[in-house]
């Protein structure tokens, strides 16, 4: 069940359908760009953008190893998509559509349908159980008498049978597409956004580096666990280990030697090369690889 996309995105999608790339619809939660729809997630992955899954899975909620939708995009990923006209924001107005009452009605109708189906099936079940019980107990006897008794019992069962609502097996829809129904969740995410905006020169340096490496075909994810800016993979992260920890800085930014040493040592411990990355004035990016010298 998908939230209705705004018409602008639909138009873009129709235009792009003949092209190789589709436009993805960003659900903006405050300033955080989220993707909810499966097709959008697939599109984004095929463009070598990884993002980070945030949602818990209905069947395995209490763990953080495998997460589900929505997909959160890094600021650099969102910017690269927008610059290539690959993303548009879904209008918040449409997401809070007043289809809530309609959805509720649809849900209740579905439940009723399900109840009726299940009660028919339950009755069938009971009948066949009864049949088995009666024919097995009176196996040697056969004749009109036992048949009549059986028919009586079956009729009685049908008349007295009732399927209680509490026995209804409920199917949970896991194809929810957005936060339009959950106002409380949305408010929670808006109020407590932990990511701090970095100061501008660094942020711009990050973006230049991201775009350059992404343009070369690398997959990049955030490298918070390694004290760097990005982890650089030669292919899809599901298939490869990262080769590089990218640390983005401007050419004239002063860095402490201790920081250089600690990040280089960390890199050698995890078998990744640390890259110092700085955008150059001519638009290219300078990369310096740090490696353990092996000189004890």
């Amino acid at each position: 069940m998908e939230a209705p996309p705004c018409s602008q995105v639909e138009e873009l999608q129709q235009e792009q359908e003949h092209g190789s790339s589709l436009v993805v619809g960003l659900s903006l939660c405050d300033s955080a760009p989220l993707l909810w729809r499966f097709q959008d997630l697939k599109t984004v992955r095929s463009n070598s953008l990884v993002g980070a899954l945030l949602g818990s899975l209905p069947r395995t909620p209490r763990q953080n190893i495998r997460l589900g939708r929505p997909l959160l995009l890094m600021p650099e990923e969102e910017r690269v998509l927008r610059e290539h006209h690959g993303a548009a924001a879904l209008s918040a107005r449409n997401q809070d559509a007043a289809g809530a009452a309609e959805l509720r009605q649809r849900y209740e109708e579905e439940q009723q349908r399900s109840l009726e189906e299940q009660s028919i099936l339950a009755l069938e079940d009971r009948k066949s159980a009864l049949l088995r019980a009666m024919t097995s107990s009176s196996g040697s006897e056969s004749g009109a008498g036992s048949d009549e008794a059986l028919q009586c019992r079956l009729l009685a069962l049908e008349q007295n049978f009732s399927f209680p609502r509490s026995a209804l097996a409920v199917q949970l829809s896991t194809a929810r597409a957005g936060l339009s129904q959950c106002q409380e969740d949305r408010a929670f995410l808006e109020a407590d956004w932990p990511i701090r905006e970095q100061d501008s020169p660094r942020r711009d340096a990050r973006y230049q580096v991201f775009r350059d490496l992404w343009g070369r075909g690398f997959f990049l994810t955030s490298a918070g666990k390694f004290g760097g800016d990005f982890l650089v993979y030669p292919g899809d992260p599901l298939r490869f280990h990262a080769h590089f920890i990218a640390v983005c800085l401007t050419l004239d930014e002063s860095i402490c030697m201790l920081d250089v040493l600690s990040v280089a040592r960390l890199g050698s411990n995890v078998k990744k090369t640390v890259l110092l990355c700085s955008p150059a004035p001519d638009g290219s990016v300078h990369y310096t690889s740090l490696q353990w010298s092996g000189m004890m």
């Binding site: 280990h241 080769h243 590089f244 800085l249 401007t250 050419l251 004239d252 930014e253 002063s254 860095i255 402490c256 030697m257 201790l258 250089v260 040493l261 280089a264 890199g267 078998k271 990744k272 090369t273 890259l275 110092l276 700085s278 300078h286 990369y287 310096t288 690889s289 740090l290 490696q291 353990w292 010298s293 000189m295």
Partner: protein, 150 residues
């Protein structure tokens, strides 16, 4: 009497300052005394401890520091070594300027206790060495662990 003896002992502590190479570095007129001291310690490490060849000091006008050039062995390529006290900061631009000299570069961090750490710096993206096998399938290991617990 102890005062006289103490003053006799004092000059020998200046052996570094009197060392010809140290004086050569000073004459280059770049770098603060701390950086020159760091450069000297790296010089001694390369020549006396590691026995590198053709170790010489050059001045870098861009960075205003003393650099060292040396070969690991005869016939090996010349390396540029940038010795820096560990509490000093530097910028990526300076590193690029040293790399622009065209030789493989080693950054050497000198701590206050004279500990030396060498880091190799290379232009471009150098793929790391792959992890070494043999590799054990973690899935099977976990399965084996669970069976033991039963």
């Amino acid at each position: 009497m102890s005062g006289a003896k103490a003053s006799e002992k004092a000059p020998s502590a200046n052996w570094i300052l009197q060392h010809p190479t140290y004086q050569q570095m000073k004459e280059l007129n770049v770098g603060e005394s701390e950086q020159i001291h760091a450069a000297f310690l790296v010089y001694m490490d390369l020549t006396e401890v590691r026995r590198w060849k053709e170790v010489s000091c050059v001045k870098s006008l861009d960075l205003q520091v003393v650099l060292l050039e040396a070969r690991e062995k005869d016939g090996a390529p010349v390396h540029t070594v940038l010795p820096l006290p560990v509490h000093q900061s530097l910028c990526h631009q300076s590193i690029r300027q040293v790399l622009d000299r065209g030789f493989p570069m080693l950054l050497c961090a000198v701590a206050s206790d004279s500990t030396l750490v060498y880091q190799r710096m290379t232009d471009g993206l150098v793929t790391p060495d792959p992890p070494v096998g043999p590799f054990e399938d973690t899935g099977r290991r976990q399965h084996r662990k669970r069976r033991q617990h039963r």
